[in-house]
Symmetry: C2
């Protein structure tokens, strides 16, 4: 066995190391720091190469590559979505990602992104909430208590300062799981028997259900004035959570309009319906919440730049730690023209 | 540390393991077997989802993702191209790839592809040569003696039965390197002082130079009737190797016309210039070589399906061997909805 040179080695963060990093840092600190990276990248939005995601559809699901780049770094995420996987004991969504140097094209990081995507989705929601939620909001309703639920609750606690979550899911077992996982979080956790009950007194409403269909998790009469709605679950064509009338009463904020119009709640509206881009709010180039009676809506679908921020965050964070291995993934012959000689010498 | 479940683990072939696999198998056997996979996939060409490659360009180079899929498997290659890298001691091109299950979206294989791409490029060339080169061809000229040169020579020996290579490069050191590496190959290796000298008596002419510019490695008067030209080096916009007049005298065979018209030698011709698709030749649906005086030209640019074949080959070949490691890359909580619980339990 030959010894690969340093140039041949790429840092790799396994699921095990990602979990160890999260636990060593603390989930809330991790979410807060990650939100900082996401905010930094939203504030320099025009610098990014915003390639559309490349999707390969099949009868059972989709496999997507989501690339983006700035002048310095290139990143992409591989992510699948296969709703039937649960039935066979597999995850609906798995993901991994790669960060590279634009200058020489060499990968700088390979990392699991299933856990990391859960973190970045919650960090993005809470970051947006910090701009749009009513001042002093303390209570969040969480409708849909699946894998993303606890991350959302902890992110809104760490970043927006909520102290109470009101949980509802059509499956009581999901709510029980979330109650259990949030028991030591410092949040007041209130399981509810209906969506109506969950939103009582909530200034923030997060919808995060997973059905791949047009669903109506919130109807118009459920939503009072002044709330911030964080709509996470509607994220592909044919999948929405909110009644159209709510959209018409709300000021709608999105990541990237060309993608959100296809994948988000606003697929229910005309293509010309006005939306505000979040990067402009964060740069003070567009208004966020202007009025305590206004309903603000974050129509979240997840964008490649958030994954880029997450890759950049992990790349910085693991430096000098033991939370990664080295992958011998890049051939590095002494003479770049002598690839076959490298192979021969390895014999 | 928790023990990841089998479902969380993805086989990974490092550069070191790839070289060990090649050496254990023998380069020629490896090229022959790989050509078999490529031929199989060319013969079922219409079954593939042929997504265009996704390129991210910068001042110094390009990073590309090349995905393709059939009904059963999905594959993509990450590859960069940075001509200036050599100056800084980095490779011009590095690559890695992933093969996944279409049914559940889970990665089945992560592998280095710098060595593997060199193999698949040579295997494809020789496979095409076996359809198009004149019967009984024994002598190949190799103009351009860089990293791909020896792989081409060995592939044409293993697959087409040549016994002699005539080498020329503008840099004599490159030719010396190739002579050295091919010394024990069983080929008669003849270093030449010019391109003209190299093609004397050759029935096959391989051009494989790396300049990113319109170059004229072969001029019209150099090429006699009846030869097969294997043009490898012209593979991106603005980079060609052959004089336009040679193209006009040749019957041109390509992998995938929409890509070759942009990247190949035929970017010098009208978009309507007739070309033959190789998959149709391999399926006997189009004519290959019809006449001993005909000049056949393979305008090679490299297509995602060849990488897919290479991924499929390695995935099959490593089964039951020690030529791979396991990457803990996919989160696999006992309850898919309990991602945060998995993280907490890892503490």
């Amino acid at each position: 066995m030959t010894q690969p040179s340093d140039k041949a080695l790429v840092p790799f963060v396994s699921v095990d190391n990602m979990m160890a990093l999260v636990n060593a840092t603390g989930i809330e600190a991790m979410l807060r720091d990650l939100a900082g990276y996401i905010e930094e990248d939203f504030k320099r939005w025009p610098e990014f190469d915003k390639t559309p995601r490349v999707a390969s559809h099949s009868a059972d699901g989709v496999i997507e590559l989501m690339p983006t780049a700035d002048a310095d770094k290139y990143g992409f995420k591989y992510v699948n979505g296969h709703p039937k996987n649960i039935r066979d004991g597999f995850q609906t969504v798995t993901a991994f990602g790669v960060l590279s140097s634009v200058a020489n094209g060499y990968p700088l990081l390979v990392t699991e992104m299933t856990v990391l995507t859960a973190l970045r989705t919650a960090a993005t929601s809470a970051l947006v909430g910090s701009y749009l939620a009513p001042k002093g909001a303390k209570v969040m309703a969480m409708i849909g208590n699946g894998a993303q639920c606890e991350f959302q609750a902890l992110a809104f606690k760490a970043i927006c300062g909520i102290d109470t979550v009101r949980l509802y899911d059509i499956d009581p077992a999901a709510t029980e799981k979330a109650v259990r996982n949030l028991a030591k979080s410092g949040l007041t956790v209130i399981p509810c028997r209906s969506g109506e009950e969950a939103i009582e007194g909530a200034q923030i409403i997060t919808t995060c259900t997973a059905d791949k269909q047009y669903a109506t998790i919130l109807t118009d009469n459920m939503v009072g004035s002044g709330v911030h709605i964080n709509a996470i679950g509607g994220d592909c064509p044919g999948k929405t959570e909110l009644h159209r009338d709510i959209l018409l009463r709300s000021d709608i904020f999105v990541e990237y309009p060309p993608q959100t119009r296809i994948e988000g709640e606003i697929q229910q509206l005309d293509d010309t319906h006005p939306v505000t881009e979040l990067w402009q709010v964060m740069r003070n180039e567009a208004a966020g919440r202007r009025d305590p009676r206004q309903i603000t809506l974050f129509d979240s679908v997840g964008f490649a730049i958030e994954d880029f921020s997450a890759l950049r965050f992990i790349h910085d964070r693991i430096r000098g730690t033991a939370f990664f291995d080295h992958l011998d993934m890049l051939a590095d012959p002494d003479d770049p023209r002598d690839l076959v000689g490298m192979v021969n010498r390895a014999a």
